[in-house]
């Protein structure tokens, strides 16, 4: 038994990505195309200022892109998003692991984490504004408040729900604490941690936009606010389209990393884990 054959055999699970994509994509494309046509027709017929047709939104999007406004704001927003999300991941996963591993840490922190999870995160924006002023730090504060608690909760639950049988198995083979953590607990917890990261990414996008709307100085959120002040509905919707694409791409990126790192998981189990994680939202 050579190592190479093992590697080859490992790729075995019969997944047909191409075909699966096609069967999923067809209704999606039809649905989106249908939605766009409906939007165009209704908006043309209705002809009100707050509901511009799709074509007008696209035209506006092109204009905003050409004068560089979108790109500049997009870079600003993505910077806020990436920094805020990274900080949330590092501290969220760290705190979540401590809570999952040590009962006392969990007892000490759980009510606060749940409270922050339930609280409308944007109410903290005025506080960040008070401390950090108009700068980027205020927006990052909001992004972190949006994302980190989801990541903490899921990481805690992920560590807690590692099958007891596996941990006992590890111990019966004399695993040290370190080995137990890295070889058994962490891999077993990874799928659910990633479910939390996926939720956290969605939340981080919302935090970025809402924070930017509140601070109203940089990023796509600020563009939304200023377009709103000018009653430029087409510009608002154009930016919203960009935001939705950012959110979908961000979530998809996490899913791709997840699929790479936890390829052993059957897809049904992945869906179930994601659902369970969603319950805690």
């Amino acid at each position: 038994m050579s190592v190479t054959t093992v590697k080859v055999a490992r790729r075995h699970p019969p997944r047909l990505p191409g075909r699966q994509l096609a069967s999923n994509a067809a209704p999606t494309v039809i649905a989106l195309a249908g939605g766009i046509v409906l939007w165009e027709v209704v908006a043309q017929a209705w002809n009100v200022i707050f509901f511009p047709p799709f074509s007008a939104v696209v035209v506006r999007l092109v204009e905003l892109t050409l004068d560089g406004k979108i790109l500049e704001s997009l870079v600003g927003s993505l910077t806020n998003l990436m920094i805020g999300f990274t900080i949330s991941v590092v501290f969220g996963v760290g705190i979540g692991m401590l809570m999952g591993a040590y009962r006392k840490v969990e007892m000490a922190l759980d009510v606060y984490v749940y409270a922050m999870l339930t609280a409308p995160s944007l109410v903290f924006a005025p506080i960040f504004f008070a401390i950090f002023g108009l700068g980027r730090a205020s927006i990052l504060g909001v992004v972190i408040m949006y994302a980190i608690f989801f990541i903490i909760i899921n990481t805690t639950a992920a560590i807690r729900t590692v099958p007891v049988g596996l941990i006992e198995m590890g111990r019966s083979y004399c695993a040290t604490e370190r080995q137990l953590f890295f070889k058994v607990i962490l891999p077993a917890a990874l799928p659910m941690i990633f479910a939390g990261l996926r939720l956290g990414m969605g939340r981080a996008v919302k935090g970025t936009i809402n924070g930017e709307m509140f601070i109203s100085a940089v990023g796509l959120g600020a563009v939304v606010i200023s377009a709103g002040r000018r009653f430029d509905a087409a510009a608002v919707l154009a930016v919203l389209l960009v935001i939705i694409i950012v959110a979908l791409v961000g979530v998809k990126a996490i899913q791709l990393i997840d699929a790479r790192m936890t390829s052993w998981l059957p897809s049904t189990a992945r869906a179930a884990k994601a659902r369970r994680a969603g319950d805690r939202v």
Binding site: T5, A9, G170, S172, P187
Partner: protein, 273 residues
């Protein structure tokens, strides 16, 4: 030699539940190279006892020694096979079997070579690169057995290893286990709730009873070895029938007694074991 003396454990009262005497005054000696089966109804503490021998859970009173040394935790001379298989779903079969060796720091080439040997022994050659989720229950437990054997333990602890399998698979695995054991003659402690399994596999059958968990009786099984090649003949023999009938008589009395006891109380909740 494993010696268990005066072993007792009480699970503390939890909420409204009264404390449960999981084990009380358990005494047992297991000789080197012996295949001991422990038989008992569910909730009698047999799994608790095995997990103590494995060093996974503490107890209140008494002592367990292996060759005179008291147990203070899991040790390299013992390896366990789990009812739930306890395979790591993210690792290949090869890596699962090599797990115990990996923890001991054996080099990759060496442990993979050793694992491949064991995979061959349990008849899974060709499945090295698969993931546990792709295998049937019977195949998964073969992996569990191979993983335990890979670390070449002196003592094999088996916790109802075939309990989650269907009847045909179970019988096949019993034969294979006998074959493997009759070659290597390791000390085996095997938990089961099947009388036939206990008698077919064991040199002796320790019968446990519930509340408090204790050893009720120890029966010698004087059936000839090797048995692997003669399973049908053994199961058809008069001796086999006699021993099984005797065990059943005792088990039935235990259950009847329990039922009467339960009628007096509200519920008969099982201890967490």
């Amino acid at each position: 030699m494993i010696e268990i003396s005066g072993l007792a454990k009480t699970f503390p009262a939890r909420g409204k539940d009264a404390p449960v005497d999981a084990l009380k005054d358990v005494n047992l000696t297991i000789n080197d190279g012996e295949f001991l089966t422990i038989l008992g109804p569910s909730g009698c503490g047999k799994t608790t006892l095995l997990r103590m021998i494995a060093g996974l859970i503490p107890w209140d009173e008494g002592e367990i020694t292996i060759d005179g040394r008291p147990i203070v935790g899991p040790g390299p001379e013992r390896a366990m096979v789990f009812q739930s298989f306890a395979l790591m779903p993210w690792s290949t079969i090869l890596d699962n079997v090599a797990f115990g060796l990996e923890l001991r720091g054996v080099s990759k080439a060496k442990r993979h070579a050793r694992a491949a040997e064991l995979i061959d022994l349990v008849g899974l050659t060709g499945f090295e690169g698969r993931l546990p989720g792709e295998l049937s229950g019977g195949m998964q437990q073969r992996v569990g057995l191979a993983r335990a054997l890979a670390v070449d333990p002196q003592i094999l602890l088996m916790d109802e290893p075939f309990g989650a399998l269907d009847e045909q698979t179970r019988r096949l695995l019993q034969e294979e286990l006998l074959q493997i054991w009759e070659l290597s003659r390791k000390t085996v402690i095997f938990i089961t709730h099947s009388m036939e399994e206990a008698v077919l596999l064991g040199d002796r059958v320790a019968l446990m009873g519930p509340r408090p968990g204790r050893i009720v009786d120890i029966t010698d099984v004087p059936l000839p070895r090797p048995r692997a090649s003669a399973v049908d003949a053994i199961e058809g023999s008069e001796e086999f029938a006699k021993i099984t009938a005797n065990l059943w008589r005792q088990l039935r009395e235990m259950q009847m007694f329990r039922r009467h006891a339960a009628e007096g109380r509200h519920s008969s909740s099982e201890p967490a074991a």
